[in-house]
Amino acid sequence: MALLLWAVCLIAAVSQLQRGPTEQITLLPNQDGKPSAVIITTAGKETVLDQPFQTAAVDSRGAVATAGDSAQIKNRYGALLDTLPQRAAVFLVYFVTDSDNLTPESAAQLAQIKEQLASRPAPEIIVIGHTDTVARGEYNDALSLRRAETVKRILVEAGIAEDQITVQGRGKRELLIKTADGVDEPRNRRVEIRVR
């Protein structure tokens, strides 16, 4: 009986081999070098890919993970990866204290922003305001949006088309310098310009 069972398993394994997997999932290295993972759930079972270039061969019965070969993967998916849009170019600008004017260093970045715009297909500019942790959440949400609007105005004055620009306010949710609540920190009072 045990032998029969074993034989059935062997036949099943061989037929699976012959059929080949129908899907393949490949984890790529994270550009920022931080650990990352894909969790694949197939037929109620989980398979985790957490090493760069690790590949799972998947069919309806389950996934089998193997260490992938980086050269082979780059060769196979090179054209696909070239299709990925460029990541956003990020610029940080600051205001002269108690004014609506950018600091000279910030104003000097306008030329680079325009260069990025000219070099990208179907470019967009996302202007995101940030505050420090002084005052309450809703106040900071409104304040950060106002700062983003001010920067949008400056960009439009510099000749950038208004319909390319979107403004957003993140309030105090994304501090550049981590502080406790209620801390006056000029480096957190910034506007982020993302060209993508």
Binding site: E23, Q31, V38, I40, V58, A63, L80, T83, P85, R87
Partner: protein, 146 residues
């Protein structure tokens, strides 16, 4: 109870928001590539909006590069059919939802702000599996899908 109502109100406003705004923008389109929306097929063009529930369909020489609003980056390869089933992104809180299905072909993904804020909000499906992502770049390859 009050929390539930607040959460419900928040998710309704999120959905309303998602219906109005595009999910993202097509940055590059090559060869035979189309967007299917409510049964209508239009050629994929750089600068065109991608909406939630759109399908991206490519031929043998086609490919499409897409930047979603949360800066998830997508590459749809040749002979592919990818459905952006659900999409919502709140730029203030970074809350939202991304559900996409690869029915056939290849999809390259660099995950964005949604996955960074709440990994559970992002899900990719294939004909056999569901994929969860944790700050990830990866490729899905469905060889003999429909």
């Amino acid at each position: 109870m009050k929390t539930i109502i607040t959460m419900l109100a928040a998710s309704i406003s999120l959905l309303a928001n998602a219906a109005d705004l595009p999910a993202g923008m097509i940055k590059t389109a090559k060869g035979n590539a189309a967007i299917e929306r409510e049964g209508q097929k239009t050629p994929a063009k750089a600068g065109a909006a991608l909406m939630a529930s759109d399908r991206v369909v490519t031929g043998a020489d086609g490919s499409v590069g897409i930047t979603l609003r949360d800066e998830t980056l997508l590459a749809v390869g040749p002979n592919s059919n990818v459905w952006l089933e659900k999409y919502a992104f709140d730029p203030t809180s970074h809350e939202g939802k991304l559900d996409a299905t690869v029915r056939k072909g290849t999809l390259g993904v660099i995950s964005g702000k949604l996955s960074k804020q709440s990994p559970g909000a992002v899900q990719f499906r294939t004909p056999t599996s569901i994929l969860g992502v944790r700050g990830t770049e990866f490729v899905i390859d469905v060889k003999d899908g429909e």
